[in-house]
């Protein structure tokens, strides 16, 4: 790890100004991923701008009935907020499915969204990786890729986005709030993470010097039920092989609204628009849920060793939707 300068800032404006003035600066919040990557040599900031004590650690009700979640709200705190547990259970569950109790006490909402892939080649600086060093190649495509992408990958990168929380946010149609030198802007959570294409070094739409300040949730849909489910190699404290976040509204046995997102399958949380199109207005039955999942996963292009993710994701989606429909039916 290279030496670095350290600067603690007292306001968002100060943070953004500091970042603009210092090439090689990075923001430090919980640090659970950044410090890890610095130890690996994957990240080597010249300066850390510590935003950890900015007043971005509140969860606030929005006038429209939604929630504004400060970027520094800890994962454990967010999962416990009654408004989140009661109105957005899929988000609370996704948070609690991630990492460990200790890490959730430290990791922040913003940092969770910005965490980088766990691809083993990305984490090993002695090996090529287009995400880490553009143009060096992607050994994962022919190498160890059991845990990597089946959807939306490119010749340049087959990494997956590891966040559980991001999958729930994608299904909830959340909005990511950014503050940069040119002011504030918002990006839909579904668009925030990118597909790798030919520039896998860019994980998200965040621009150089921009600070992620908040995530906003739209009001919960009346009558909607939501759930997160994750499959993994061990019972806890493991990244997803595949996961699904679902929000479902069923009326009189018919799907009125459905939002579905997959985790562990792609370079971003995979919002399943094709599946949703099939679901809308369809009978809320296992058969139709399976048909919807198949419609989405038809686009999957598994690699040599990760084909299992396709039936796994399908089973997760069908299971969660069936479960939610069952709960709806029983009140």
């Amino acid at each position: 790890m290279r030496p670095f300068g350290y600067l603690r800032v007292a306001s968002v404006d100060e943070a953004v100004r500091a970042a603009a003035g210092q090439p090689g600066a990075q923001f430090l919040a919980g640090g659970t991923n950044l410090v890890d990557l610095m130890k690996l040599g994957v990240e080597a900031p010249r300066t850390l701008i510590d935003i950890g004590r900015l007043p971005l650690d509140r969860v606030e009700e929005l006038p429209d009935g939604g929630l504004r979640i400060g970027a520094l709200v800890r994962n454990a705190d967010l999962a416990a907020v009654p408004a989140v547990r009661d109105r957005y259970p899929v988000l609370s569950q996704a948070l609690l499915a991630g990492a460990s109790g200790q890490l959730r006490n430290t990791a922040t909402t913003g940092g969770n969204l910005l965490q980088r892939t766990r691809c083993g080649y990305f984490q090993d600086v002695s090996k090529p990786c287009n995400k880490r060093e553009p143009g060096t190649g992607c050994p994962a495509r022919e190498g160890a890729h059991r845990d990597l992408a089946v959807l939306g990958h490119s010749a340049h990168c087959v990494a997956t986005q590891p966040s559980d929380m991001a999958v729930a946010l994608a299904a909830l149609d959340a909005t990511v709030c950014l503050h940069g030198p040119e002011g504030e802007r918002t990006v839909p959570a579904t668009e925030f993470h990118r597909l790798p294409g030919d520039s896998p070094e860019r994980d998200t739409e965040i621009r150089l010097g921009e600070l992620l300040t908040a995530v906003e949730l739209p009001p919960a849909r009346p009558g909607a039920r939501s759930r997160y489910r994750k499959a993994r190699d061990r019972a806890s404290f493991a990244f997803a092989l595949a996961s699904v976040a679902a929000v479902l509204t069923v009326r009189d046995g018919t799907v009125e609204h459905a939002a579905l997102a997959f985790g562990g399958l792609a370079h971003r949380p995979w919002r399943a628009r094709a599946a949703e199109a099939v679901l809308r207005g369809a009978p809320a039955t296992e058969e139709h849920f399976a048909r919807a999942a198949d419609a989405e996963l038809a686009a999957a292009a598994p690699l040599r060793d990760n084909g299992f993710k396709v039936p796994l994701a399908r089973a997760l989606a069908v299971g969660v939707l069936t479960d939610l429909a069952g709960r709806a039916a029983h009140g």
């Binding site: 030496p3 430090l28 400060g70 454990a76 259970p89 499915a97 200790q102």
Partner: protein, 202 residues
């Protein structure tokens, strides 16, 4: 447990000595320490290499094992991923700060009573983590296995499944888990551990 509450006032930040070192102050187990540290120094290395507090262990140095677990402002965290400079002004409690003189913390007693350890290397992290678990459950923090019928914010009863899930950030290669679950359950049942020396003492 409203986020943002309960944090101490800022000290105004660490004092830079040069571009790569700063003078900072932390309170560890009730004692204030002012040191000049390399910005790269983690809280774990600060404890082990600068303060001689080797109770917190380095098992992986990447937040993957939990052996370095300490309490920061009473909440458990992986100290290997915390930069010391960013924790200027914070209160830290390590396993060395749990006992009240010769009187062990109820969780330390429970670990001994249940033989919830073998090689002992993960043990300080397990115990600090368990201190955090008892407080989190009492404060109504849910876990993945908390029934969604549970009332938000109400204290969570620590069943064996709850303890297993909540303690899963602390790996133990000797396989002491069944005894650890019993020890945590014992301490939870006494109720003493939540208000014991641990969380508030440091």
């Amino acid at each position: 447990m409203a986020p943002g509450e309960g944090r101490p006032d800022d000290t105004g930040g660490p004092h830079p000595v040069n571009g790569r070192r700063s003078e900072l102050t932390l309170t560890v187990n009730g004692t204030r320490h002012t040191l000049t540290l390399d910005h790269r120094t983690t809280v774990l290395d600060l404890l082990r290499e600068h303060l001689g507090l080797t109770g917190a262990k380095k098992g992986c140095d990447h937040g993957q094992c939990g052996a370095c677990t300490v309490l920061v402002e009473g909440r458990r965290a992986n100290s290997c991923l915390l930069l010391a400079v960013a924790h200027d002004g914070r209160r830290i409690t390590t396993v060395e700060g749990l006992a009240d003189g010769e009187r062990l913390h109820p969780l330390q007693e429970a670990f001994l009573d249940r033989d919830a350890l073998q090689c002992g290397y993960c043990t300080p992290g397990q115990i600090c983590s368990a201190v955090g678990v008892l407080a989190e459950a009492a404060d109504g923090f849910p876990s993945l296995v908390t029934p969604d019928t549970a009332r938000s914010g109400a204290p969570v009863a620590l069943t064996a499944d709850e303890i297993r899930e909540r303690m899963s950030g602390n790996l133990c290669r000797c396989g002491a888990y069944p005894r650890i679950v019993e020890a945590v359950a014992d301490a939870a049942a006494t109720g003493a551990a939540v208000t014991g020396a641990g969380v508030t003492g440091g």
